[in-house]
Symmetry: C2
Subunit: 346 residues, 2 copies
DNA sequence: TTGTACGCGTTATCAG
DNA sequence: CTGATAACGCGTACAA
């Protein structure tokens, strides 16, 4: 019972040849109705299932795509992956996932490994520490579609699906200003990643467009970390001229800030308005729900998958598609001053 | 530039045969130091990478394992997957993930598909609606390790890694009683899944062991849903003899309950103590943090992977391992009455 | 130590 | 319409 039944088995049983069986199974035109029916029946009867490995070796197509994210158990990434899987599963593709742990070395290794596994495409979010791009040459030169999502880098031949971080940031800042805030602080993350740079730029631009001065003291850098968010808030509020709003590039930073503010007698949003980024699930659950920027990870995943499918369709044509999704500002308690009474009920 | 360099290419270049190249690459003993070195050098020079598909077909080993979960973007499942990936990656396995969407039909399809893809093992959490187990026969009969995690079913030949849901539930209830609560309500989920049945049993047993009466009115069934949690809380508190504690089988149910209670003048934990289940990230972030049962998903994933590795090691021996992890009760604000003043500072 | 020949399961290209 | 044969890339008895 070990070995699966092969087309050869069923050929032998029927006294015909494996080639004929193959044809019957593949709706080949050059086959008689009768034998086709016969083959199909006995195939079912013998529980025949095609060996995808053999097929893969033969065709040079594995029906696998590789997905690389820093960590899979981060809500944003797992949601993107969900989108990818749901789009690709109906098309017969299997999704192989790996985690780079934000390490360029590991990312390199994984890309290598995926290429050996003959994946038909790689969909990934760059690791924070990735500087060099040499490890992508092998995949591009082999004409394997490479798609970056969220964290992208401008490389010839690679497509990308991102959100407009600048715009999201701009919207958030604009919203805070619209709430009457005059001194908007910004919590950012190390600028290794372009996305944080763009969020910073969006923030700055919104200030400028509203004739508000940019103050270096109001910008503080931290990791996406609650503890650091607390410290940052403390630092900001202890300034001579403290902010009346905080826009954080991460929800965790925003959360930390809120916790510190609440613990130190500040009223939110009346004293300080806060907006985060990412729309992590917890932001809506809080008693004081947190305003945030939604990145629509599911759509990002689906879109990435679609771009892949498009690209795989005709590989002769070199497509390089840059999709930029629009972020949505979700206004919640943490930034809703009761200026317009009927604007919010909760 | 399309085709990869094969051992045949490098053999031709060196004027030797592919077999020799293969031997050199595989540390075979029967080869001279000189040619071995030569081969290795030119292999590197030509950017040779083994084609895993060919290798897989040859050996009947794909180096892939399949992982099936209901939805990948649920914190618990994505954390388990993280554990699995981190344990298996160093061993050279790739992780293929699929989502059952809680549908037996889809689960069946996926199992089939994974078998065709020649995976070397399947690690999965059953879908809620799975009743029949016929689709597992093919994997067991082919001697492919099948490991259930979290949601399990007793099938001969399949290993499982679960937590002791009974114990977790017992601990939670015991804790509530220890806080002085006399009427502990329980929110459960449809008993299609054994885990919720066991949680119910643990709850009941704890009551019994503390000489507290079991009251059917205090048990309400809902999905893991905030809205339903609210309704359930309302229903419970409107009883003639309302509860002074709620133990919910899910964190989302607990959250809903808390939101309703807070919105209706109840004080937590003074009027009502609440404990959830799963230790979702948001439970610790709330201003009023929520007590919960931690299921250590990461360890569950790692353990599942280890069981798989053990099983694959010698396939002659039929191993059937049942690992039961101990859940941890995490006591937070929502159930910490200020009985012992110095017990909690926050 | 190396070469020869075959097989893994499938499809494709020839003939017939 | 069907059968024989080669090929996908690799590993490995067997022979030399």
């Amino acid at each position: 019972m070990k070995g699966k039944t092969t087309i050869y088995d069923i050929a032998k049983k029927l006294g015909i040849t494996a080639a004929t069986v193959s044809r019957a199974l593949n709706d080949n035109s050059r086959i008689s109705k009768a034998t086709k029916k016969l083959v199909l029946e006995t195939a079912k009867e013998m529980n025949y299932e095609p060996n995808k490995l053999a097929l893969a070796l033969k065709k040079g197509k594995s029906n696998n795509v590789g997905v690389i994210v820093p960590y899979i158990n981060r809500n944003f990434f797992s949601s993107v992956i969900r989108g990818i899987e749901e789009e690709l599963y109906p098309k017969g593709y299997n999704v192989i996932i790996s985690q780079s742990h934000e390490s360029e070395e590991r990312e390199k290794e994984i890309v290598n490994n995926l290429m050996n596994a003959q994946v038909e495409g790689i969909l990934m979010s760059l690791s924070k520490s990735t500087n060099k791009t040499a490890h992508f040459n092998q995949v591009l030169s082999k004409n394997i579609p490479l798609i970056f999502f969220d964290r992208s880098l401008n490389i010839a031949g690679v497509s990308s699906v991102t959100i407009d971080d600048f715009q999201g940031s701009y919207k958030a800042t604009q919203h805070l200003i619209g709430q009457g805030c005059k001194r908007v602080a910004h919590m950012t993350v190390g600028k290794e990643l372009g996305i944080y740079r763009q969020r910073f730029d969006g923030y700055k631009q919104a200030l400028e467009d509203n004739d508000l001065p940019f103050d270096d003291n109001l910008v503080v850098e931290l990791k996406s970390d609650i503890e650091e968010g607390k410290q940052a808030a403390q630092k900001l509020m202890n300034l001579q001229d403290p902010p009346d709003a905080i826009f954080s590039s991460t929800d965790h930073g925003a959360l930390g800030a809120i916790k510190w503010l609440q613990g130190n007698g500040y009223s939110i949003p009346d004293d300080v308005c806060v907006v985060g980024f990412s729309n992590e699930p917890f932001t809506q659950f809080m008693e004081l729900s947190i305003s945030s920027i939604d990145q629509s990870p599911l759509e990002m995943g689906k879109m990435s998958a679609k771009v892949f499918l498009e690209q795989i369709k005709d590989k002769k044509v070199k497509i390089e598609k840059k999709v930029v999704l629009s972020p949505k500002l979700i206004i919640r308690d943490s930034s809703s001053k009761h200026i317009v009474p009927n604007k919010k009920a909760n």
